[in-house]
């Protein structure tokens, strides 16, 4: 997985990688030449008493040293750039892929896990690349050079090298094989730590309110202990690998002297070869140590590569039609394809026998829902908590796809529309009033990127948010913190409504968007909305009968089924469930 991923990433930087390898070879060779020149200084300079030669050779050595540093700096520069490019690319790939995910896909991994994968996991791969470029690039050359030169000196003695290499390989394989599961578990534990911390930050007031800090500290401590134990286990394995390899290589140099000594005595080998042989064994050792340094990092990176690849390999469960790559012209896209649609029908929403079930779930969330909503009408969806109202709404922008039945928009199956074109036709106020960090204006311009300040104020006023935004220091430029936590629930809802209003669309979806508003605000808001939405198809999930009683049709959901459909007056006649809902509100909002 790691190799596949690295191969793909590095193929874009082939020239740079080649340059790095060449530069590292130059550096290694230069480094190897210095002792040779030094030997010349001793043999030809000192022994011969040739002072000018000593100085000349010294100058040569300085020149080679300069070449070495230049090559090393250049290799370091390229290595840093390429390694960081790889990280950049991976983060970008992950982000793009997650953007294509459906809600279900994101839920499979969980947002916090996706964040860990795009940060910490990518860092691990980046670090490995960096190490590989600085350490690994020259190691094979040094290693092979050492072996070739050793074999050249004395073939029978190189038998020792031949015996040692499989031994070293065995040590490495044994340890790395144990490291991989540890590292895999380690990344998961790191994620658990991050999840607990995230909950403690978001749920701070609940924890403090119930005075459960001690419980939280224990909960975190358990996770922290597990992670520490895991990290320690892998660190101890690595700590064992280093000395093992060292002892194998060092003992082999002892063996070289022992066997070499005997061969020399027997007259089969020259004396000089012995010293040279030990030098080469050392060179091989250094190469192996460098490679090992890289290899201890590799298993963790390999685990991270798997985790990243898992995200990249997940096909978004919801995608546009096969030819969805076409530029999605907002209104004209329908005309570009086979079946042209009359503009008047553009906003008609029709559900035909729609069911939805989560994979593996026993009971479906929705089953056999059929209804039609036409432009200029309001369809309200009511039902008990958990009866499937939000799921129904989420099917329209294709955050989820029905498991059975079809949904059409303007007469066309929504699955035949490019996703962007489909979503462009609707404006949504989600149940969870999610705001992004930035300013009030930034958040509103998510709805209308080109809107002028005046248009922003218009939308805010319609959404009954103008007053409080005007009172904020900075007004439109007032800061919004992540998730919008610095606004009250009702303020958030109104900002989300304003955001949706800045995006005129044939279909409006309001998912329980008025629940946090007081009645006066609610009433004013609906009065302001009515003229704006007069021509649109409006779908509203709501609780309050007062919010929905003037809807053209009301859908009553019960356990995922359409229990009744009709206007307020009709349903009061025909539907017991609806009567119960209405009656319960009268009890709750009883009058003077």
């Amino acid at each position: 997985m790691l190799i596949k991923l690295m191969g793909r990433l590095l193929s874009a930087h082939r020239a740079a990688v080649l340059a790095i390898v060449c530069l590292q070879l130059v550096q290694t060779t230069a480094g190897l030449m210095l002792p040779t020149l030094n030997a010349a200084v001793i043999d030809d300079g000192i022994v011969a008493g040739n002072t000018p030669l000593i100085l000349r050779l010294g100058a040569w050595m300085a020149g080679i040293a300069a070449l070495q540093v230049a090559a090393a700096v250049a290799a370091g520069y390229l290595g840093a750039i390429v390694a960081m490019r790889i990280g950049h690319q991976l983060r970008s790939d992950l982000f793009t892929r997650v953007q294509q995910f459906s809600s279900q896909d994101v839920g499979t991994f969980g947002a916090p896990s996706l964040v860990t994968r795009a940060t910490n996991d990518v860092i691990q791969i980046q670090n490995l690349a960096l190490l590989a470029f600085t350490m690994l690039a020259a190691a094979p050359a040094s290693f092979l050079g050492g072996i070739v030169l050793a074999a050249h000196q004395d073939l029978p003695l190189s038998g020792i090298v031949a015996a040692v290499i499989p031994l070293l390989a065995a040590v490495m394989v044994l340890i790395v094989r144990r490291l991989i599961p540890l590292y895999r578990q380690g990344q998961e534990l790191l994620e658990r730590i991050s999840r607990v911390l995230r909950e403690q930050i978001i749920g701070a007031n609940v924890i403090r309110g119930f005075v459960r800090q001690d419980h939280e500290i224990r909960r975190f401590d358990a996770a922290n202990r597990d992670l520490t134990r895991n990290n320690l286990a892998s660190a101890l394995l690595v700590a064992r690998m280093n000395p093992l390899i060292m002892v194998v290589v060092n003992l082999s140099s002892v063996a070289v002297v022992w066997f070499g000594g005997h061969r020399i005595e027997a007259g089969e080998m020259r004396l000089g070869a012995l010293t040279a042989f030990i030098a080469y064994i050392l060179q091989i050792l250094i190469a192996i140590m460098m490679a090992m340094y890289v290899f201890t990092t590799a298993p963790r990176a390999a685990v991270c590569a798997e985790r990243i690849q898992a995200v990249l390999d997940t096909e978004p469960s919801i995608a546009g039609p096969p030819r969805g790559g076409l530029p999605p012209a907002p209104q004209g896209s329908a005309a570009a394809e086979a079946a042209p649609v009359a503009p008047a029908a553009g906003g008609t929403v029709e559900f035909r026998g729609v069911s939805f079930a989560y994979p593996g779930a026993e009971a479906p969330v929705l089953s056999g829902i059929s209804f039609t909503a036409v432009p200029g009408s309001t369809t309200a969806i009511v039902g008990a908590t958990g009866s499937g109202k939000t799921t129904l709404l989420n099917l329209l922008p294709r955050f989820l796809d029905p498991t059975a039945g079809t949904i059409t928009l303007g007469g066309r199956d929504i699955r035949s529309l490019p996703l962007a074109a489909l979503r462009e036709r609707m404006s949504l106020v989600p149940q969870h009033s999610y705001l992004f960090s930035g300013t009030v204006a930034d958040n509103l311009r998510i709805g209308g990127p080109a809107a002028t300040d005046a248009e922003l104020w218009d939308a805010l006023d319609t959404a009954q948010a103008g007053d409080f935004v005007r009172r904020l220091p900075g007004g439109l430029d007032a800061p919004v913190s992540q998730g919008g936590t610095n606004f009250s629930g009702g303020q958030r809802q109104r900002l989300c409504i304003a955001r949706a209003l800045l995006r005129p669309a044939p279909v409006y979806l309001f998912d329980d968007s008025f629940s946090a508003l007081d009645y006066v605000t609610d009433r004013r808001l609906r009065a302001a909305l009515d003229p704006l939405l007069a021509a649109a198809t409006v779908l509203i999930v709501a609780e309050r009968v007062s919010t929905i009683e003037r809807a053209d049709q009301i859908l009553v959901l019960e356990d995922g089924r359409l229990a009744a459909r009709g206007s307020h007056a009709e349903l009061m006649e025909t539907s017991r469930t609806y009567r119960e809902i209405a009656a319960s509100q009268l009890v709750l909002e009883e009058s003077p």
Binding site: N38, V41, I54, G79, N205, T385, Q482, D512, S515
Partner: protein, 622 residues
């Protein structure tokens, strides 16, 4: 080397590095053992080649003299083999001890970060991007952990090898040793120059990682909004910008600091050349032998190699220090002011009677009776912009207080102040006659059962989430609370029942169901003061009617603060506070306020203004 660095803007990083090492203090004995093991390793590792050289001499003697002393060779080689075994053993011990020390240190650091989260003021999470706080707690701590392990291992080793080699060099030739030593200031200077340039980039690298983390958190959590509005491009652009920034900072940091190692090698090579040339000239002058020069060159290699290694660790050190600085900055962030040591004696006495649930474990004291007063309470989230002003009211034990007003009038802030999530700017709040500012926060909050606006649930089972209100509660109590708040009904329909795991942010449940669970949680807690902030805003009305009885029972005998839009709840309240723009504009009972023809009566009338009048004369059913 660290001390030589000027204290500039980068001084903080070296202080952070120093402070990080300070965390090893409790492990002094272990670190001493690490140094001892490293010494053992270094001695054996330096001695072994010498004996191997002697063994070679035996072979040489055999070639020259014809007599090959196999027994002596065997003895020498056996000694060398044992030395190498010993060196590896020491190296293993050193590695294992260091790993344990580092993991302990990081464990402590992570715990410290987590403890800190509990003492940060609630406002900290508003100002600071929570992704950045998280990135500090995970990515930065992990970076410290990884770098420290490598650094401690290699740094100690390098420094010991360096000193050993230096000692041998002085012993062989003081003049040449001085030449070799001359390279030290040069290397240090180079390191300082480069480090000063690269430090800012490392700081930027980890700061950008924090920003990127925030971006990812936001876009992955809010992905539906991004998609619904077709703003993937904008999101991608914002993400791309921080991704680019991270790339630029990281690559600069690494290539600038990566220059140090080659430079160090260059300096040591120059030194090597100088030693070779000067040594050669000395031999020519007859002041040194060839063998002496050769040995010296070997040791100067041993000297320069660790120098280069230390240079190579600069990247690691700087990255580690930059992360450590960010972690320490979080640890040093201002905390909630410490609790007063002891509550006023009067408060304890007043609280002694009327204690429905008895003492809470952990010394939190008796439950309060529930007399609450606000005296000229004023507060603003940012200075100069008060959110609530001059709040004055008094609640007797067992009374229900309803807070009404337009969205954004400051209703939730009243609750936040009462529970001391935020501290007053002026005025005071008392519970049972004692100023809450003088009360330990935990003791104060132990008296409250809360259902807050955001029904936040934790990763865990439904049972665990309800039990959160009263740890160790029996199954009967949990189910009773669940039944009263209508959680039982939908939980029984789930395949795993109460053992159903709630995933990320309780996503698998609807918002209404989450609210019901948090009501059950508060119900179970049995605290004497209740705070219900829009507790049922997302619960459907039929369910709400059904849990209404339970809610009313829950309020009985308990002081309750209720923020709600349902006028039925409001109407029966003993005290209604009508808020407008951060002030209490009216307070009293329903009938008094209705007669007053102020904001309350207009609010009240507006609720029924557009309605069919058929239901407007119904009497409340109880």
């Amino acid at each position: 080397m660290t001390a030589a660095l000027p204290a500039g803007p980068e001084g903080g990083k070296w202080r952070a590095a120093w402070r990080l090492l300070g965390l090893l203090k409790p492990m002094r004995a272990r670190m001493a053992a690490v140094v001892a093991a490293t010494c053992g390793f270094a001695v054996l590792n330096v001695a072994a080649p010498k004996y191997l050289g002697d063994a070679t001499d035996v072979v040489v003697a055999g070639v020259v003299g014809g007599a090959f002393d196999e027994r002596r060779l065997g003895r020498l080689l056996l000694a060398v083999a044992l030395m190498y075994l010993g060196a590896s053993l020491f190296s293993w011990i050193q590695g294992a001890l260091t790993a344990t020390a580092v993991q302990r240190l990081v464990y402590g650091l992570r715990s410290a970060v987590e403890h800190k989260l509990h003492v940060l003021p609630s406002g900290h999470f508003d100002d600071q991007h929570r992704g950045d706080v998280l990135s500090r707690a995970t990515n930065d701590v992990d970076n410290v952990s990884q770098s420290l392990n490598q650094l401690l291992n290699q740094l100690i080793m390098s420094i010991l090898m360096l000193s050993g080699a230096l000692a041998m060099m002085f012993w062989l030739s003081p003049l040449l040793a001085l030449i070799a030593l001359a390279s030290v200031p040069l290397s240090t200077l180079l390191t300082v120059v480069v480090a000063r340039r690269s430090q800012a980039h490392f700081t930027e690298q980890w700061a950008s990682t924090g920003t990127l983390h925030t971006h990812l958190e936001e876009f992955f959590t809010g992905h539906e909004v991004v998609k619904a509005f077709g703003r993937q491009d904008t999101a991608a652009a914002a993400f791309g910008e921080s991704n680019d920034r991270l790339f630029r900072a990281a690559s600069r940091a690494h290539y600038v600091s990566g220059i140090v190692q080659p430079l160090m090698i260059f300096v040591s090579n120059l030194n090597y050349i100088a030693v070779a040339v000067v040594g050669a000239l000395q031999v020519a002058a007859g002041t040194m032998t060839i063998g002496g020069v050769q040995a010296f060159i070997q040791f100067s290699r041993l000297f320069s190699q660790p120098m280069g290694q230390i240079g190579g660790m600069l990247t690691l050190m700087q990255s580690c220090a930059a992360s450590a600085e960010r972690v320490f900055a979080l640890l040093d962030a201002p905390e909630i002011p410490a609790d007063a040591a002891e509550p006023a004696p009067g408060a304890a006495a007043a609280a002694a009677h009327h204690a429905p649930r008895g003492n809470h474990p952990g010394g939190t004291g008796p439950a309060p009776a529930g007399r609450v007063t606000f005296e000229h309470a004023t507060f603003g989230y940012s200075p100069g912009a008060p959110v609530v002003q001059d709040l004055c009211f008094m609640v007797e034990p067992g009374q229900t207080v309803a807070i009404v007003g337009h969205t954004g009038a400051g209703k939730t802030t009243v609750v936040n102040l009462l529970m001391r999530f935020y501290e007053l700017d002026a005025g005071r709040i008392t519970v049972d006659g004692a100023d809450i500012a003088g009360m330990p926060r935990d003791r104060l909050r132990s008296g409250f059962g809360t259902v807050l606006q955001d029904a936040w649930l934790f990763t865990g089972t439904i049972r665990e989430n309800i039990e959160y209100g009263r740890p160790g509660a029996s199954d009967e109590d949990i189910i009773a609370a669940a039944q009263a708040s209508h959680v039982d009904q939908f939980v029984r329909a789930l395949p795993a029942g109460y053992a159903t795991m709630l995933g990320n942010d309780g996503d698998s449940l609807s918002r209404g169901q989450r609210q019901l669970i948090s009501i059950a949680r508060a119900q179970l807690s049995g605290r004497s003061i209740l705070v219900l902030d829009e507790a049922t805003s997302s619960v459907d009305s039929r369910t709400e009617v059904q849990i209404r009885q339970a809610m009313a029972r829950l309020r009985q005998g308990r002081t309750s603060f209720v923020i709600a839009h349902r006028l039925s709840t409001v109407r029966d309240a003993d005290l209604i506070l009508v808020m407008d723009q951060g002030r209490i504009v009216e307070q009293g009972k329903h009938r008094e306020l209705l007669a007053g023809d102020g904001l309350y009566s207009s609010l009240y009338r507006s609720q029924f203004a557009g309605r069919n009048d058929a239901d407007s004369v119904l009497e409340p059913e109880q």
